[in-house]
């Protein structure tokens, strides 16, 4: 027996910060990186007598995510209090949703080794974030920063439909792409605005009953998701094979050691004493609200990917790179519309030069200096033979930095190829006249000499001869 005899069953719980300017129940800023406790008020500090007032933008963003993930939006959902004591939780309870969440019964399609599969989404609910405790402040004291207290979150809970750690990563990336596309979340795992817990169990292949599940916490990168789940699968299989039993518990992923360790057992599990939040009436979605948001939904990443492959004839590889960033995909479509040439050629410029320069210059796609029309003009210069591919790369780099027109740059740098057939023919005549021996050899059948003659013409034209024109003129004069 080995891991291969077992079927892992995985479900993910994802917390995503909603991109609002203010917090979910008060007017404080959600800006990241402010000095500790700068973004707080009586409400998010949990002063006596304060009451929550719902930020409407939060609902809009959550409904957007819910519909993009094919969820049913409940016309009435209920706020609940999740009660526990912790210094970063000012009221001693978190306002969340429990029995009746805002969104239910959705799905996200992912690619797996066996083809595309729909991963069902059980629910999406709204809640407020807690603050954070700072333990290394010195003086043996712990400090509390409540800037995050009351920051709006969605919790997206999948059904246990994932079967491998790779599928889990695929689902998580797909989910992140959707949320980022919608402008609902910034997808940043490192800053904690997109967080993931995993529920993992294993069962013998062929079995129909799930094994005991274990909750994994503190997984803050895609790589760690894979590592943590794989480690946990191995641990559970080993445990079962050695005659042990998997215990119901919460385990913490230790990134430094690449392993999970027990955080709390079932006996130590919190009893959160959920009950309906009496300070907030039920959340009611007015008629027509969901439909309005649906109309405003952008094309989602998977639909765009399929369209890029189908209508531009791109490879799946190129299409994935382009669609991976909504702004990149949008720019591609704009340039392609202005260009009208072969999409594959444009895609190469995007995946090659553009991404390289963006990375090298740590530049932002939103702040490009050149326009889509200029980009298209550059490609047309190449297609029209006025710029060599290499020269075009130089022009593009300059365009990227200065935003000046590609034609101007090319002329200024003297990179424009000579298109005048008269000038090309004159150069060819001069070269042929200066190299009678070589011409003789060529006519005697030594065809390799052609390359040498081309080189001489190009040299005479200081590299600006259009290679196609030079070739044609040489052949004609040599009598081919």
């Amino acid at each position: 027996m080995s891991v291969a005899d077992f079927q892992p069953v995985i479900g993910l719980e994802v917390h995503g910060q909603l991109l609002t300017r203010s917090k979910i129940f008060c007017g404080c800023s959600t800006e990241f990186g402010a000095p500790p406790n700068a973004n707080t008020c009586a409400v998010c500090l949990g002063m006596p007598g304060v009451l929550p007032v719902l930020n409407e933008k939060v609902v809009e963003l959550a409904v957007r995510a819910g519909r993009a993930l094919e969820c049913r939006i409940n016309p009435v959902s209920i706020w609940a209090r999740k009660n526990y004591f912790y210094p970063d939780l000012p009221k001693g309870y978190q306002i969340s949703q429990y029995d009746l969440p805002l969104c239910q019964h959705g799905a996200l399609e992912i690619d797996t080794d066996d083809g595309p599969r729909r991963i069902r989404i059980l629910r999406i609910h709204l809640e407020e974030d807690a603050g954070k405790n700072v333990h290394d402040a010195g003086g043996g004291e712990s400090l509390v920063d409540l800037n995050r207290s009351g920051v709006p979150l969605v919790e997206i809970v999948s059904e246990p439909d994932l079967r491998t750690s790779a599928e889990a990563v695929e689902y998580l990336k797909g989910l992140r792409d959707v949320l980022v596309y919608l402008g609902v979340n910034d997808g940043n795992l490192e800053e904690g605005s997109f967080r993931c817990d995993a529920n993992v169990s294993v069962m013998r292949k062929g079995s129909t009953t799930y094994g005991q599940r274990v909750e994994l916490k503190n997984i803050n990168s895609f790589r760690f998701v894979q590592k943590a789940i794989d480690y946990e699968i191995g641990r559970q299989v080993e445990l079962i094979e050695s005659g042990g039993k998997v215990a119901q518990e919460t385990r913490l992923f230790d990134a430094a050691r690449g392993e999970t360790r027990s955080m709390r057992s079932k006996e130590e599990a919190h009893d959160y004493r959920y009950f309906p939040e009496p300070d907030l009436p039920p959340l009611r979605i007015p008629p027509g609200y969901v439909e309005r948001i649906e109309r405003e939904l952008p094309e989602l990443p998977r639909a765009k990917l399929h369209r890029f492959i189908a209508s531009y004839g791109l490879s799946a590889y190129d299409a994935k790179i382009l669609v991976g960033d909504r702004a990149l995909a949008d720019l591609f479509e704009k340039v392609q519309a202005a260009y009208g040439g072969p999409s594959k050629k444009l895609a190469n410029w995007f995946t090659g030069e553009l991404l390289r320069l963006l990375k090298e210059e740590s530049a932002d796609l939103g702040a490009l200096r050149f326009s889509a029309e200029q980009f298209a003009a550059l490609l047309k210069l190449v297609d029209g033979g006025e710029l060599s591919n290499n020269a075009a790369k130089d022009v593009f780099a300059e365009m990227f930095r200065s935003g000046r027109a590609p034609g101007d740059i090319a002329r200024e740098k003297g990179l424009v190829q000579v298109q005048d057939t008269g000038a090309v023919e004159a150069a060819v005549d001069a070269v042929l006249a200066a190299n009678p021996d070589e011409v003789e050899k060529y006519r005697a059948g030594k065809k390799q000499v052609f390359g040498f003659l081309v080189g001489q013409v190009m040299k005479a034209m200081k590299g600006k001869g259009n290679p196609a024109l030079v070739n044609a003129a040489l052949r004609a004069k040599l009598g081919d």
């Binding site: 009586a42 007598g49 007032v53 209090r81 000012p90 001693g92 509390v144 004493r273 009950f275 907030l280």
Partner: protein, 489 residues
């Protein structure tokens, strides 16, 4: 006549006419506090300078012809769970002994806008949990009608201060009777408005779905006027109804002719009801009949479950609402080596016995495995209690009952028997569970000279009618004019 004998509206008229100044009235009140409060012990804190400064400002407005309204310059007091910027707010608890709020509660802002000088903060049962003000962490308040007895609670300090003429009116809160029962026991008028009528923002919470702020005054017109000042929709309280308040004084004097008043069998047949209370309340109902109302027997069959329901719902919410008093950000902290010990010691030292009892009751009722049997079941019964009233209000305009089954009881008499204490609220609890408006006003005195209260319950948002019924009875008597026998000193 002493200025402190006047009602709020009478004083307001004299201030407007320039016959009195707010400053001299505030000084008269302070003199009365100095003379009497050593015995009554209604105040937790007197804000002399603040009140005098506010009185001076009121007098200036008056002089400039810019009075803010009927109550401008009329001194009031606040139960000590309304947050007041810069002035301590303790909620009657040690855990908030050092707490000074950074802002005013919405109702405090509204009072400041109405121009009422705030004389100080009044004693209460800790976190409004109790019916005698004996659960104050500081000292019990005494009933001005008999200093050996309790003024009721939890707004006992407010009731006693109004009754003893130390303030002209006060604000209290009512979660299960905490305005009406002390009003009944001290011969004053108290109204619990419809749930959602008055903002709870900045009011230390006990049980969020039951708590409501209300006026406590000497007579019904004052009660209407003080309600008018605070019955304003507040966007900072999501449970505050966006319903505009009517003019509560407009139809106050128009009588009860043609009204149908319900007499719920269940509220008069209670074993343990004081016979003097019963006969006084019955006499009051007959009198309203003589004044033109029709008395109609009604049934509120689920009333018998109100006490049990209340003692599941209210402690459950309280257990959560009081979790924030953890020693981390404000209030008392008992330093300890680790977090759990700090939490435990802080809350052990900071909370009194009754508060701890209710936190434990509520935590238990919400626990996994018990939630359905207790909290959820209680919510279902709550719905039935509400439906009882909906049914009754199909045929009657209001419901009459005693406010409390007994007159004021002796201090110490019930403090060791929580169940006996809880039974004191049996007539007032259903009103909170159903979210209705309820008024208590004096309807007589026992032979021993203790006040008796009549309770009038109305339809949601029908405070105006409840007040009108109360006023119709009140003006036939001088009960509200009688003053407690406190002597010179």
């Amino acid at each position: 006549m002493e200025p402190t004998e006047l009602s709020m509206l009478e004083l307001g008229r004299k201030l407007a006419a320039g016959e009195l100044s707010s400053a001299e009235v505030v000084r008269a009140c302070l003199a009365r506090v100095d003379r009497l409060d050593g015995r009554v012990k209604a105040f937790l804190r007197v804000d002399r300078e603040g009140a005098l400064a506010q009185a001076d400002a009121a007098d200036r407005r008056c002089k400039d012809g810019k009075r803010a309204g009927l109550l401008d310059g009329v001194p009031v007091g606040l139960k000590d769970l309304f947050l007041t910027e810069g002035l301590p707010t303790t909620a009657g608890s040690r855990i908030l002994e050092s707490f000074i709020a950074p802002f005013d509660a919405t109702v405090v802002k509204l009072l400041r806008a109405a121009g009422t000088p705030i004389l100080g903060k009044l004693n209460m049962d800790e976190f409004a949990m109790g019916s005698s003000t004996e659960n104050s962490a500081y000292f019990p308040t005494r009933n001005p009608w008999n200093l050996e007895t309790s003024p009721g609670g939890s707004s006992g300090g407010s009731a006693a201060a109004v009754s003893a003429r130390m303030v002209f009116g006060a604000l209290g809160t009512d979660t299960g009777g905490s305005i009406r029962q002390p009003a009944a026991l001290t011969g004053t008028v108290g109204l619990k408005p419809t749930y959602g009528r008055v903002s709870r923002f900045g009011v230390v919470a006990f049980a969020s779905s039951l708590d409501q702020v209300g006026p406590m005054t000497r007579d019904v017109p004052d009660c209407a006027a003080l309600l008018q000042a605070i019955a304003v929709h507040d966007p900072q309280d999501s449970t505050s109804a966006p319903v505009k308040a009517p003019d509560y004084l407009a139809e106050l004097e128009t009588g009860v002719r043609g009204m149908k008043l319900g007499l719920p069998r269940e509220y008069f047949d209670l074993p343990g009801m004081d016979p003097e209370v019963r006969s006084a309340v019955e006499a009051a109902t007959r009198e309203l009949e003589k004044l033109g109302a029709e008395l109609v027997p009604v049934s509120l069959p689920h009333t018998k479950y109100a006490l049990a329901t209340y003692y599941l719902v209210a402690p459950a919410e309280a257990s959560s609402n009081l979790a924030r008093y953890d020693g981390v950000r404000y209030g008392l902290r008992v330093p300890e080596k680790n977090l759990l010990a700090m939490y435990g010691r802080t809350r052990d030292k900071g909370f009194g016995l009754e508060v701890k009892r209710r936190i434990m009751l509520g935590t238990y009722a919400l626990s996994a495995g018990y939630y359905d049997a207790y909290y959820l079941k209680a919510q279902k019964v709550r719905t039935l209690i509400k439906q009882d009233f909906v049914e009754a209000f199909r045929t009657v305009d209001a419901v009459l009952s005693p406010t409390s089954p007994t007159p004021a009881f002796r201090i110490g008499e019930k403090v060791s028997d929580p169940l006996a204490m809880y039974l004191n609220d049996v007539f007032t609890l259903p009103c909170n569970l159903a979210g209705l408006p309820g008024l208590s006003l004096p309807c007589g005195f026992t032979r021993a000279g203790l006040p008796i209260g009549l309770q009038i319950l109305g339809r949601p948002w029908d405070e105006a009618r409840v007040l009108r019924i109360g006023r119709t009875f009140e003006r036939e008597h001088d009960f509200h004019r009688r003053t407690p026998p406190l002597g010179a000193s």
